[in-house]
Structures are given as C-alpha cells and as structure tokens.
C-alpha cells in the first residue's frame, strides 16, 4: 500500500492508467543499478530517484572534476574532488528521501560485477569505455538480467535494450571490442553536453517500462540519435546465431576483462 505522502508525491504517475497505484508500488519495489555516475548516469539517476524507484545502485570509482560539469548535471561545482557516487546519492535522496541508494565506489571488473548486478532487476550501462561495456553485456547475459546499453560521441548517440536469451545483445552487433584507441572517446573527440541527457533518460525510461511491464522496450532495436539532424532512427537487430556469448555455440562461458579494450581514458586514471 502507498502512504498519503506517497499518493501525493506520485500523483502524476498514479493518474496514468498504465501506472496507477499498483504500478507505482512496482516502481517502489523495483531495483535498478546504474553503472557509471557520469554523463548518462546523472540524468537517469535523478529521474529514477524522482520517479520513486525504491532501490537504486550506483557504481563509480571516480571523483568529480571540473570537466564533468558541462554535462553531468547531478554533480555541482562544490562537489569537485568528491566521490561521484557520494555526490550523486546526496542529490537523489534530497529529491526523494523515500528511496534507498546503494553506492559502490569501485570500477566493475570480471571479479566483482556478478556480485553487484545480481541484486537488481535492471542495469543501466552508463560507462564510457569498451572494456566496461563488453563486461556489462557479458555479465548481464550470463546472469540473465535485462539491461540498457548506450554510447555517445560528439553529436551522436545510440542505445539498445537487451533481454538475455530473448533479444540481440551487444555482442550480437559487435562480437569483440575495437582495439584500444581505434575509436575516439568523448574526452578526445568531445560531446555536446545535452546529448547524454537525451540518451540517459531513454535508458531510464526503459527501466521504468520494464518495471511496470508496459510498452515496448528497445529490445532487438538499436535507436540511433543524431542531435544535429535531430534524427532518431530505429534499426531492427536480429539475434546473431554466431554471437560469441548468446549464439548457438558460445565461445564465452565465463567473464573475463577485455584488457585490450582499455582506453586512453583508463590509462589516464591509472
């Protein structure tokens, strides 16, 4: 049941026939993990907190720096130098004290990721490097946890939702990571600050729809966005029978870190 305060706080949700009191209860019972408390994770975390997702996990080992503030709207100038997960949790619980925010001040790697994602209904990949993106895909596929992938660069973004075993995964499209430094990162090539806002909120929308069990997810569909053209293209993606992790004869049966995909950004951090 919802309290009087909850009925008032979530009135605009409850008024929707697709949500109602039951749906809001589902959101409050929902558990969403956001990996990366940065550009994509910031808008997702703020809106999921406001929406009353009862338990939200945040994973990030990094501290806030000045270059983050052009787009990572959950962090303020006064947060520079503070842990991103702590800074983000503060804003989320200020918006909504009725939610639980679990913080993991660490990077995900093959040794810890399954232990973290196992507690959640849905995972949002808000990371900025291919090693993490492939690891998150592999972990979610092996653990059978649905997740949202997104990537951004310059004025472009793309996102797909994966239901392991049912819809195409990231490796169905890209069987292995590009060699390190083959593809520019945002720190090298730049990114327009509003872009991850759009993509991160699409990811948050997917989380909410999954928890509600309403609407059509971006499963089997890569949404490709270009901010300059203001174009949204949906590309249908079939499962790939040759996929190395979810295909007919998978070669990846346990997690490993894609060390070759470590990027310039990671090298700077270490």
């Amino acid at each position: 049941m919802l309290t009087d305060e909850q009925i008032e706080r979530y009135q605009r949700h409850i008024a929707l026939k697709e949500v109602g009191g039951k749906g809001q209860r589902r959101l409050l019972d929902g558990r969403v993990l956001i990996i990366g408390a940065g550009a994509l994770g910031a808008p997702a975390a703020l809106y999921l907190a406001a929406a009353g997702i009862g338990t939200i996990g945040l994973v990030d080992a990094d501290a806030v720096d000045l270059t983050n503030l052009q787009r990572q709207v959950i962090h303020f100038t006064s947060d520079i130098g503070r842990a991103k997960v702590v800074s983000a949790r503060e804003k989320m619980t200020a918006i909504n004290p009725g939610i639980q925010v679990n913080t993991y001040q660490e990077w995900v790697h093959a040794g810890n990721i399954l232990g973290i994602i196992g507690d959640y209904d849905f995972v949002i990949d808000g990371t900025d490097n291919f090693a993490a993106k492939f690891l998150i895909n592999d972990a979610c596929v092996l653990a059978g946890i649905p997740y949202s992938h997104a990537g951004i660069l310059r004025f472009d973004g793309q996102t797909i939702t994966v239901r392991p075993g049912e819809s195409a995964c990231y490796r169905c499209i890209f069987p292995s990571p590009p060699p390190k430094d083959a593809i520019p990162t945002c720190s090298q090539a730049g990114v327009i600050g509003v872009l991850p806002g759009v993509l991160g909120l699409i990811q948050a929308t997917e989380a909410i729809k999954l928890l509600l069990g309403k609407g059509d997810l971006l499963t089997g569909t890569l949404l490709v966005y270009n901010a300059l053209a203001m174009s949204f293209d949906k590309i249908h993606i079939n499962r790939n029978p040759k996929c190395p992790i979810c295909g007919e004869t998978p070669s990846i049966k346990e997690l490993k870190d894609e060390v070759d995909a470590v990027t310039h950004c990671d090298l700077e951090k270490s």
Partner: protein, 71 residues
Amino acid sequence: MNLTVNGKKAAIADKESLSISGLLDELNVADPLYVTVELNGDIMERINFDSTLVRDGDEIEFLYFMGGGRG
C-alpha cells in the same frame, strides 16, 4: 542498382558485381575495419565482406562503435 543504406535510398552505379567491402569503399565509409554491417536484417560476419555481393533492393545498415557515456 538501388539499395537502402542506413534507412536512405542509395543509387549505386551499376557494376558487374559489388561486394560489401566494395560498397564500404564506394561510399567512403570511415573506419571500415570497425563497422558492423547488417544485410537485410542479419548481422554479417566480417570474413564474408569480400565474398558477399550486394543485390538490387538490399537493405544495408552500417553500425558504428560508440564508446562514451560516463566520463
């Protein structure tokens, strides 16, 4: 030859034969080594780029790595 490339109609000069590799070249696709190609709904294996010929009416999507997000 009329193809649909990334959702848009593309008229390609008629040739005896044009492979996926040839098409990547013809359209000056950037970083072709890192492009995934979807042909009529199915993701192609890279080893087949040279031997697979495009045909009139094919629908082709070039899919690109995009790595940013957190930092």
